[in-house]
Symmetry: C2
Subunit: 250 residues, 2 copies
């Protein structure tokens, strides 16, 4: 099971949109996928129209196993939902003296043969659950919105990943995914160049701005269900290719 | 001193853009303003080109007073910066048995006569610092991005505010600020109507999509400095009117 953390400290950069569409994209191609919502906002269940409980909190508090809380979201796609009680888990984890950062890794270990991919939708920020998400992952897929405020936080995020990588030796920032690529914005070219200069072959094909991606959420559908011919479906389809292949084609 | 928490659980909805521009807008009209960055991302200092330390963490850990950490950002505008160490403060606060939610209120009390407004830029989410931000405020100003995912979280946020209001009896969700108002998006009218139906006179004049707002951050300027004739300056100017007046004109 390849564990991919879709993570970025900045808010609203497309973490959930990416986690949901990457998960369903992989599932549609026959991979067995576990989508884990690790955000107090519980947006994955809403995005797919699936039950919002039981939740990851039950697992992180040691009251249930992953298999006892998964709900089937689509063919080949199971979801572990979250809700605002996840903050409680953050405190319990933070109080574990030495090994709190392993809570999520321990919870996922029993299902390692059941899924080909575990995709984690991280919350913005750097709290104990966010550190756990990085602490259990093989790869980090980092959505980077193409605006100055989001770019300002990228290198701090890289340092944050490096700190966690000292405990989790497998962890690699493998995918930089530019999002909200707006061809009408003059500065976009420069921002992409900045990212390419720093991240080289780790920069994936950008996701273009496409209102179908925002609307799909309202319809509780992935982009492949909601607008299969859209730019959003094309771009996330390309991301699925790159994740399957294990490296960016861009 | 009127304490306004610019807060919303959802990420990337314009909290920082609103806190920074509202603060500078009020300062330009002669009010004495304290802008408090309460987010581990430390974006307020970047947005205004001001020193990023000392920080709010020093205050919440009891190691400094607010006056010892403020930096002058503009005429009439002081800033308390933040950085990623703020997570430490979250844990310390959460461990205080009964009164952790008062930490920020206690820190602000000594400067109540020094400023007319304290504007807090909250982090997304619901951790102990976010609860403190609501716990010390008079008003909540909630930016609501006009997209389905952001709207999906509004009522949970309202319930979150109500929970904190049981401890902080002054707290009122006074301002609902629609953001990213995109006149080309067909669904926008319906989304505004939904908000107006629920929040009535508490709904402020929406902030329209305007690239100058995103670019201003890159130049370390407020919108009033960067593009005084822009839609962004007009719309945030109107918000300043409404906050000065104490109620929405919309
Ligand atoms: N390429 C895109 N084009 C248009 N809208 C998009 C695009 N990507 C995401 N969106 C929309 O932008 C909003 C923010 O995206 P999303 O919720 O996925 O970000 P996030 O990083 O998960 O936010 P948070 O930090 O709150 O968890 C959502 O309404 C989403 O549908
Ligand atoms: N009306 C607008 N038009 C265009 N861009 C905007 C507008 N409002 C904000 N932005 C830009 O959108 C991005 C997100 O806004 P901002 O950082 O203020 O949100 P936030 O809620 O503070 O995010 P976070 O949850 O990460 O703290 C920034 O690049 C900002 O400059
Ligand atoms: Mg999300
Ligand atoms: Mg912000």
């Amino acid at each position: 099971m390849r564990i991919i953390a879709v993570a970025m400290t900045k808010g609203g950069v497309g973490k959930t949109t990416t986690a949901v569409n990457l998960s369903h994209g992989l599932a549609r191609r026959g991979h067995r996928v576990l989508l884990v919502d690790a955000d107090t906002q519980g947006q994955c269940a809403k995005a797919l129209g699936v039950a919002a409980e039981p939740t990851l909190t039950d697992v992180l508090l040691g009251e249930a196993t992953i298999l006892e809380v998964v709900n089937r979201a689509r063919e080949n796609l199971d979801l572990v939902a979250s809700d605002h009680h996840l903050t409680k888990a953050s405190l319990v984890i933070a109080r574990r003296e030495y090994d709190g950062h392993l809570a999520l890794a321990e919870a996922l270990a029993p299902v390692a043969d059941r899924y080909d991919f575990a995709i984690m939708d991280a919350a913005p920020g750097v709290d104990a659950v966010a550190v756990n998400v990085l602490g259990c992952a093989d790869d980090v897929l980092a959505p980077v919105a193409l605006n100055p405020a989001a770019l300002a936080g990228v290198f701090e995020f890289v340092r944050h990943v490096e700190r966690v990588a000292r405990h989790n030796r497998r962890l690699a920032l493998r995918w930089i995914l530019p999002t909200f690529h707006d061809l009408r914005v003059r500065q976009t070219g420069e921002m992409l160049e900045q990212l390419r200069t720093h991240f080289g072959g780790r920069m994936c094909t950008p996701i273009r701005v496409n209102i179908d991606l925002a609307e799909a959420f309202g319809w509780k559908r992935s982009i492949f269900e909601h607008a299969p011919q859209s730019r959003g479906a094309e771009d996330y389809g390309q991301l699925v290719n790159e994740v399957q292949a294990g490296s960016c084609v861009a």
